[in-house]
Symmetry: C2
DNA sequence: ATGTAATTGATAATGATTATCAAAATCAGG
DNA sequence: CCTGATTTTGATAATCATTATCAATTACAT
């Protein structure tokens, strides 16, 4: 199901699925919903196939992001993170826990109205990204 | 007016206003509303006082951000950017033009409802950050 | 004045990412 | 299947932003 959608995108972009790329993709699928940095992907990929190079990881993540198989973003902390992009357009709403660092997602897409508002002002909005900073339910002192 | 508020914060935090720090602050005030990277601040600061070191710029920006005189964030592009933080709490709504790179701000604070919603789920939200990507009125092909 | 503490600027060290390049893998046509 | 051309890979060098180090300067409190 997930693989089918992805393969299609790879084909469309004439991007060959080598063993290394397959391992990296599998890592991303296994971690669906998480936001992995390149070195985190590298470590997990090594577990599956011990002789994969860090350069290949960077290259592959970059390429997969450019064809929208992955979504690439950067959080406070200064390194890029990647997550599987699941076809649907607006899903980039993150809640970052300042205590444990856990990053979860908000499903709602409540920004549509605001985008309309901005377009009336002459902007053309293509995408948005929303980040909340605070404590997740586990870390919330009140809970 | 701006200076008064800032001096107060500096005093409260026992942060001395040396000539170098004053120059850096002046650069930030001159560029109110813009989002400068450390090296951009460095270049402008050099124009005003030719023998300021890059290390001092980094140190000062970092410190000023930690006492909320500046707001520090990171955009696609991988480097930190700083802007003057003007007392009011929620103002971190940015519109990034994909054409010219210009970053402007949305004044509205329409996320309050969403925050309430998340708090009902057990989260404790302390801050948020919203970024729109698209074309500004000048670059919008439709205009 | 004078000794102590804070600040500075140059530069080394670090961490993340990108570029380079020779070797290995893969492909397409005979 | 061969074989030459093309793509991909992994190691590593290069780069870029940021942070740490440290001796020299500056400011402070007595």
């Amino acid at each position: 199901m997930v693989w089918k959608t992805i393969s299609k995108k790879l084909d469309e972009n004439e991007y060959r699925l080598t063993p290394q790329r397959e391992v990296i993709l599998q890592v991303m699928i296994d971690n669906r919903g998480k936001h992995l940095s390149a070195d985190e992907v590298y470590i997990e990929a090594r577990g599956k196939s011990s002789n994969i190079g860090i350069a290949t990881v960077y290259r592959t993540l970059e390429k997969l992001a450019s064809i929208d198989v992955l979504y690439k973003t950067i959080f406070e902390g200064g390194k890029y993170r990647y997550e599987l992009s699941l076809g649907e357009s607006h899903q980039h709403h993150h809640i970052i826990c300042l205590q444990c660092g856990h990053i979860s997602e908000v499903e709602e897409d409540l920004l549509h109205n605001l985008e309309i508002h901005l377009e009336k002002q002459g902007y053309k909005i293509l995408d948005h990204e929303l980040k909340f900073y605070g404590y997740c339910p586990q870390c919330n002192p009140k809970n």
